[in-house]
Amino acid sequence: MTDLTALTLDDARKGLASGAFTAVELAEAHLKAIEAARALNAYVLETPEQALAMAKASDERRKKGEAGRLEGIPLGIKDLYATEGVRTTACSKILGNFVPPYESTVTKQLWRDGAVMLGKLNNDEFAMGSSNETSAFGPVVNPILPANWSEEQARAALAGNKQGLLVPGGSSGGSSAAVAAHLCLGATATDTGGSIRQPAAFTGTVGIKPTYGRCSRWGIVAFASSLDQAGPIAKTVKDCAALMTSMAGHDPMDSTSVDMPVPDYEAAVGRSVKGLTIGIPREYRVEGMPEEIEALWKKGAEMLKAAGANIVDISLPHTKYALPAYYIVAPAEASSNLARYDGVRYGLRVPGKDIIDLYEKTRAEGFGREVKRRIMIGTYVLSAGYYDAYYLRAQKIRTLIKRDFEEVYAKGVHAVLTPATPSAAFGIGEKGSADPVEMYLNDIFTVTVNMAGLPGLALPGGVDSKGLPLGLQLIGRPFDEETLFSLGQVIEDQAGRVMAKRWW
């Protein structure tokens, strides 16, 4: 029998429909693969019993002719999504053994369409990080081998201190690693500043951050509410479109979710891109950017041109201010959102001599260093006397960033092409230990999209000089994810897919 975990979501769907294998067999194959890949640390909780029960129910539905869009498809769920009766921690000690008595809207919709849950995926604590190294469960290992490493060398490092192995990106590092390592057919993820697209780029997978409001945020642990969006990471553009169709939609429980019909995103895959105008923003040519990123970007534009798209130079003048403005807005919102973790209603509690002492000790013990720092930055920029200078100014700059995009779209640009990240995946323990800004720079190309509330798709575009995958990013008009899927397929057809070898 062929390795069922190596299939794409779309191929697995066809196999299930034709009766070549059952949902139970498909779930079993993935559970076995997960067990054999524990050292990668992609899953923080495996739910085999639930997976098999869901798969069995799926097979029964199929027999009755009631198969949904994702019938029998096994998925991994980022640990930021509340799953009813299944521990949800946001990979923070402060949530401890929190077991939600409710299900997030997005996962509810996935189960509605027949999907099967394999377990909960690792991420940076409260989604704050770009390498999955801030997780309370420890780092995740990227299944892509470091340049010039032998499999033996990688196995030895995996058994030891993991130094030299690559990070899978963050914050959705468990999601990207699990998809790349064939530990699920697709994964849920979230993106506040690049947390879907940067991990996708680092692992050679495909991820989309939808337009703000396209997916419900209800039941997803909040980081920065005006920037957070749910989205999928998958093996192909088509798989990503299939997951998006299920995840998107209006939800009365999230007042920022839009009441607009959800298109069949899969129908956009394979659609002609002839005559579409693609903008190349000159401001993304940042100082010190490696030549290979520049070459990748050029190659991406040529691929779209070959398919009949028009390539034009554009200007998004406020690009360079997006990242610093983000590091005011996001921590400000985080400091407010994370005020709820006080040791009273759920999660960790460290006793204190009075209530304030209890709060302070609980939060000192429960939050990791990166989270504490962001809460403190947020507290500072919102505090009396600094609000106007920092927070208000950042929100004005956000208006300008959004206006940049509105102006180019009004001139007829359908989508914007940029590199997804300024480099390929780096090593575990390599970045950000002394200066947090070094790590933050990872999101330089992705963060504008969150600030402007736009959709952004990241997918493999090629490799760097050492053979590591590099991602391209397509940025769309608000609520025009369809065009991104059409353009993405054109790039995937020409650039091909990245396949990680199983060495662990």
Binding site: R345, R349, E360, R373, Y380, I397
Partner: protein, 95 residues
């Protein structure tokens, strides 16, 4: 702008995070690195620019003012570190 050690202690207090004295210098350095990074925002002309309040043009939805949920004290207190008779237990707040 940069923060001094006293300000770091004050922010920690406002954020309700106990910060041991030994950790103050490192935290101060990291916060100042970030404040240094965001300083470039000062060069942007924001005269007459409206601060963003909603990234998608959307009117806040209204619903009928009726009770839609409730009577779930069991589920609400289920995850509490300490609770009794559907109350959250905390150290004495009022003398």
């Amino acid at each position: 702008m940069s923060v001094d050690a006293a300000t770091v202690r004050r922010i920690a207090r406002l954020a309700r995070i106990a910060l041991p004295e030994a950790d103050v210098p490192a935290m101060q350095g990291e916060i100042n690195a970030i404040l240094g990074f965001v300083e470039q925002l000062g060069e942007v002309d924001v005269e007459g620019v409206e601060p963003m309040t909603s990234v998608t043009p959307m009117a806040l939805k209204m619903r009928d003012d009726v009770v839609t949920a409730g009577g779930e004290a069991d589920r609400v207190t289920k995850n509490a570190p300490q609770s009794e008779d559907h109350y959250f237990l905390v150290p004495k707040v009022v003398e």
